[in-house]
Amino acid sequence: MDRVKVKLLFFAKSREIVGKKEADFEFASCTTSVSILEKLIEEYPELSVIAENVVLSLNEEYLELDNQELTLQAGDELAIIPPISGG
């Protein structure tokens, strides 16, 4: 299966938990948002404390967490988005 390198971004609590703002990560290019989150938690087990309360974004658009197939491209930007509190 094709694998692609994407850029991960961490914000707020997820940034503090992981201890960095960004990282490169390889995923299967054909995947789902649920699977992406599972892989992230395997890589960063400490994120599991907030796993129930995050969403992901792909290239600046929110991703619904579901099992629908999606295709990642090399260089995509994937962010872990804890509950927002702007305003």
Binding site: L9, F11, A12, K13, E52, N53, V54, V55, S57, E60, Y62, L63, E64, L65, D66, A79, I81, P82, P83, I84, S85, G86, G87
Partner: protein, 171 residues
Amino acid sequence: MSGECNTAAELDTVGPAAEGGQDHVDVVEDKLSVEAITAQATSPTSGAVALFVGTTRNNFDGKSVLRLEYEAYMPMAKKKMLETCELVRSKWEVENIVMIHRIGVVPVQEASIVIAVSSPHRKEALEAVHFAIDHVKATVPVWKKEIYGDESSSWKQNQECKWSGAHPPAS
């Protein structure tokens, strides 16, 4: 937590609506000038500018808040703010929309966000600004951390954020 004030200033001039106003959104580290933002939203054909100013409160749950720190997913935050403007325009006849969020350290009592909407009539401007702040709180990736007097801290969650309790998300 944000305190808030919501005012509508009715200006003298009531004219025909301009052909398409402007959307101006930004995320900045500087102190916000309510006056400058209001001026930017005002137009000769507006009869009203409605303003929302979100300010930082000095207490939460009985604890004193020393300061607040905001961070943003910058490009996405601006994108979601522009989407909010677009939605506002699909619902109300408004002229200019100016929406500025401050990030970094925001001292207590200062504005963290200012939204100004001008429109020929006040009803549209007031409803639009109310909708805009609610939508921003639900969709714009900005985070606020409260730092308390005892140096403990807490990441806040907007009630409007659909994934603060459980999945799923976000439209």
